[in-house]
Symmetry: D2
Subunit: 161 residues, 4 copies
């Protein structure tokens, strides 16, 4: 190990990969309505530390009916889940736009991610220069409503009577 | 005025009305899939302080295709917008469930509300006993992505070239 | 009856009301991102034929995060459900835009409406001149996936084992 | 070619691949709330007919806040778009459930797919036995609202004045 400094558990190399993939992912955005490109990258926790980490990318996919479109973060996470990854498999997520300001995931994406990320998982928000601001899942969605908030179905059925 | 104590700008009477309407609104929930009833109430800022405040209620409306359903908070706010209310017209929102725990709005609703609520607008989360926890819009969706975050379209079009 | 001609079960007066309310509802649209105003009107079946029909309106409500916004048809139906109306209470729905072409509900709205409308309920699509094209729920969402398509939960739990 | 019979432009081998991938994709569904597993498979048009077709799979990804989840078809298409595929690259889509009945895509997915599929692209609905019913995009979303329905922005801005 030798004491490389880590940020939210990530090495500088991992952050570089996350940055590069997030920025690159913007090229795949389909956003003819907003013209607002967003790229995302999901860093998968490797079971083998010697192996280069797997990164899954996403981009926003808009629709003529605006509410039907989806965001970069959800495209990346949907791909990951359909690939068999589950809670505890995610080390970090990155999001990048074409702006100088740091742009955070929308509330819908925060809720979607909350189902699978630990509360201390870092969310890196990259601006177009590759600079970032970073917050944890729990910081971006405080007092959140996750899987464990739903009471067991038997209890709900009991309340109905 | 005579110094009635207020909580986030609301009088005890206003909070009582918000509580009663939020709890009552649960009766209108259509939730055959989750069995999880949610009621919401939106307190409209009265232009005439002598007039009893207007409250708009909402309830969750589920769908056989789960992602197509909507939440109580968005039903209430949709109704309000279609009634002509706009940003600055909202004094508070309340949410109520059948649980003993305080249940917060999901991330999607926080984002939907963010478009119209000021960051210091209170969100009252009522449990089934009518007890509440209260947070502001800004506390529930920190670093949020609101209307002002989108750059002017001309700038986006310029970036395309 | 006296033989007034009806279109999909609606009298000319009812269609006129549906048209006027759908067109008027556009004024309440919040659509700073698409600039595409949509109005909707839901004609409630009156239990008392002598009484003027109740009409509930809706308008599109957009969001800085495009997928978080909602459509006019869902705003109207959400309001109706939260008002206590249920399946069998809806006689027709109307949708209006600022275009000369007739504009149909998006697929998400068709699915949302499907939960509450009978398959033969008419959907009136008004252009800006008030002319219309009309189709039934079943015509706009053929082979649809409604509440009855989900197997009983016990069966699903059985399949899991 | 030698006259192999095709169904909606697909060979028997292609349909077999679509079936196998759609059925297999169900294993990756995250559906703790509905218990209703759905798999999807998107057949990419190969630019090289000698090369085995590329297939992208998807599965439903649910959320504690039901409306925030997404469907198998949208996960598959989101992945495809973020991989760089665009309109005209899709030869067919398949959907599979654990039911004996043929289950169609929900209206929201039909709208999402409509942005990228030609109207005559086939949608194969597989039951748990691998038998199928097939309809085209245009048949499942008649009178649809696609990218070409939105007027040029300049026209919309003009209407505002
Ligand atoms: Zn988002
Ligand atoms: Zn919600
Ligand atoms: Zn719609
Ligand atoms: Zn769907």
């Amino acid at each position: 190990e030798g004491g490389e400094e880590k940020i939210h558990g990530l090495t500088h190399t991992e952050i570089s990969n996350l940055r590069a993939t997030s920025l690159k992912a913007r090229d795949f955005a389909y956003c003819p309505y907003s013209l607002f490109r967003v790229g995302a990258a999901l860093l998968i926790r490797s079971s083998n530390p010697g192996i280069f980490d797997h990164i899954i990318r996403g981009a926003n996919v808009e629709n003529a009916s605006y509410p039907v479109g989806t965001c970069a973060e959800r495209v990346a996470m949907g791909h990951a889940i359909a690939s068999g990854y589950r809670k505890a498999d995610f080390k970090a997520i990155g999001v990048a736009t074409d702006q100088l300001d740091f742009c955070s995931p929308c509330g819908m994406c925060r809720q979607f991610l909350r189902e699978f990320l630990d509360l201390d998982t870092p969310i890196f928000m990259f601006n177009r220069e590759g600079e970032y601001e970073v917050k944890t899942m729990g910081q971006l969605l405080p007092l959140s409503f996750g899987p464990e908030a739903l009471p067991p179905r038997e209890m709900l059925e009991g309340q109905r009577k």
